[in-house]
Amino acid sequence: MKRYSQGAYYGVFFLLLLVAPLLLSEFRIGLLAKFLCFAIIAVGISLIWGYTGILSLGHGVFFGLGAYCMAMYLKLEASTSGIPDFMEWNGITELPFIWTLFENPIFAIGAAVLFPFMVAAIIGYFTFKNRIRGVFFSIISQAVVVVTVTLFIGGQHITGGTSGLTNFFTVFHVPLADPSTKTMLYFITVTLLAVVMGISLLLTKTRFGRLLISIRDGENRLRFLGYNPAVFKVFIYALSAAFAGIAGALFVLQVGIISPEMMGIIPSVEMVLWVAIGGRHSILGAAIGAILTNSAKSFLSESYPDIWTFFLGGLFLLVVLYLPNGLAGLVENLKGRFLKKVKKEAKNHEADSLVS
């Protein structure tokens, strides 16, 4: 019964995504594609936050690393002289070694996934091994953001500085601006979202998923059951970083820019907000949260460019105050209320028979 209804939700969700291109304008589909990238991040955050209890306020970094990996390849493909334009302004005449690797698209795509995975694994290894938890971890993740952003801005001659990397034309020599390329990318994004959600569902429905919940409930307890929670945390953290990396790569392909600002504190906190709004304990909820929050943001800022942050702030407030488990929680609640009615009647019978 439960499994069945859950399947139905997923079915409707992906069906809507598949027919969306028929219903929306090219620009809106572009936006939706961007939101789907964000949904991929949200799924990863739901894994570590909702399931494992790790609150990362620094996932922007992994998103950014994935995005930069992809962007470096695109930038090289767009640079006629073989050297990106901003390097020329900075007086660099020879392509730095690290950049030469990204001439190979396979490497770039692989790196967009593996590089965030590895960086997260390293950070996670030390912090989790040293039993840094809760808000201490969250603050470390913010410090990582500050360090990374500052380095990317400071290393202007290699990274493009504040402006980031932009002005790409082609991917695999196919023009990025072509409507067909855009449609293609949209469907690739939908597919990858499906894959990421699938992996996450598989993980959470198995013993591994229950272990994640145990880590959230009491990781010290777990040690005395013979587990080393750090290993599991590192894995799930790195996995969610890899998801963010995938999202970053897709983002760059569709939006055409990545800048250090995008890895900053504000986007990183916003990512958590999407998940909270959708429902951190639900994979689908998190994804929908990302899409809806960003839609609301776009809609509000288009409708009220002067004061939209009033409304956005108010929205966050209301959701948190009145929907503690996000939209998914609301759905559960409504469903629960309905089921409970049925159950209650049954239970009353049972209770009566017990007393008599």
Partner: protein, 393 residues
């Protein structure tokens, strides 16, 4: 944002025609209205809206009323890209006025190019760029930085301390200053960058004290200027001791810093609120009447205002809103701007401008101490300067 027509599925090619359906023409205004850059950019929006209102009152352009669609870039570059795309694809505006930071411009650049749109960018910048779809109405380097450095070397001394925010404009500007100083017998005693939003300048000030420069060339952006100047004064360094030459401090920034702190320091611009032309008197009056007595004008505000007029004149001349046609006729278009006559250079799509250096007075206004006399031809790649040969490929 206020209006949005149902989009046509045909995409980008037809934008210029559908934007001018009926008796209105839509234009996009895209500045940061929220986030850290809002402190500067909101005034640009105001200036552009004022110009649009004036033009509409005078009968509009090609007989159509201009209808602005305002969007918020939110101090975030990908958002600038998204909103520019929205304006061009969804609203199919005839042109966009927008941006402040170079990063925001660079984010919008591919979008306007791919959609064959038009962007008017109103802020002084670091040069080295020339997009066919952008008109640059602020100064390029040879209309601000280069003359400012010449003037400093001549009037203040040869030891220059470079201080800037860590982003593309200051870094590129300082590269130019280095080359220029070397060629002209100046010495750069130190080059320091601070992250955006940096607020503690004590250590930098100690470095200034120990390097004893004759002048500080300041490319700090926004908020950092406030912290820097306040703390410089507290450390006991006055404009008499070491003057600061700024290129991003206009009247509005002075208002936020406090004139008492800035008195005696210098800035290089193309326009001051005190610039003495009849057009400027009206401009300042109108601006204050519309937005409040306590508001001030300034160079980027004027450049944003000019942009709207220049576009309107180009449209009139082309008798079309189409980007290609507007561009084709742009060369030589003149506007009797508040800061004096400006003229579009069709080749670079930059503007001929007069360079001015001013000294901050106790009332927060500039006293002009030098100007270039004639309008300086824009040279974004500094091709006409020998010492700059190594700077651009």
């Amino acid at each position: 944002a206020q209006t949005s027509e149902p989009s046509s599925e045909t995409g980008s090619e037809s934008n210029t025609t559908s934007s001018s359906k009926g008796d209105t023409v839509q234009v996009g205004i895209l500045h940061s209205l929220s986030g850290t850059m809002a402190i500067s950019e909101v005034s640009l929006r105001d200036a552009e809206l004022m110009a649009i209102e004036e033009i509409n009152a005078a009968g509009g352009v090609l007989g159509k009323q201009i209808e602005p669609i305002v969007e918020d870039g939110a101090s975030d570059w990908p958002t600038f890209a998204e909103k520019a795309r929205k304006l061009l694809q969804q609203d199919e505006v005839a042109t966009i006025f927008g941006g402040w930071t170079s990063a925001s411009r660079k984010a919008m650049l591919p979008v306007v190019e791919q959609n064959n749109g038009l962007l008017w960018y109103p802020v002084q910048y670091e040069g080295m760029e020339q997009s066919p779809n952008i008109f640059y109405t602020g100064a390029t380097t040879n209309q601000q930085i280069v003359p400012a450095v010449d003037w400093m070397l001549e009037n203040q001394g040869e030891n220059i301390f470079l201080l800037g925010s860590d982003y593309v404009f200051p870094r590129t500007a300082n590269k130019i200053v280095n080359a220029q100083a070397e060629a002209k017998g100046g010495t750069v005693v130190a080059e320091e960058y601070t992250p955006m939003g940096h607020t503690d300048y004590n250590t930098i000030i100690n470095k200034i004290k120990s390097t004893k420069p004759d002048v500080i060339f300041n490319t700090l952006n926004g908020d950092s200027n406030v912290a820097f100047f306040k703390q410089l004064k507290d450390a006991g360094i006055t404009a008499e001791d070491i003057p600061v030459m700024s290129v991003s401090v206009a009247e509005e920034e002075i208002r936020g810093i406090g004139a008492d702190v800035l008195e005696g320091h210098y800035a290089a611009w193309n326009y001051f609120q005190t610039t003495d032309t009849p057009e400027n008197t009206t401009f300042v009056e109108n601006y204050k009447a519309k937005y409040g007595e306590d508001r001030v004008t300034g160079d980027p505000i004027e450049a944003a205002y000019n942009a709207v007029y220049l576009w309107a004149e180009a449209v009139e001349k082309a008798e079309s809103f189409e980007v290609e046609k507007v561009k084709a006729v742009s060369d030589g278009i003149e506007f009797n701007a508040p800061g004096g006559v400006v003229k579009i250079d069709g080749e670079t799509q930059h503007i001929y401008k007069t360079v001015r250096i001013g000294e901050v007075q106790a009332d927060g206004q500039f006293k002009e101490v030098w100007n270039s006399g004639e309008q300086v031809k824009p040279d974004p790649y500094l091709k006409s300067y020998d010492w700059a040969a190594g700077l651009s490929q």
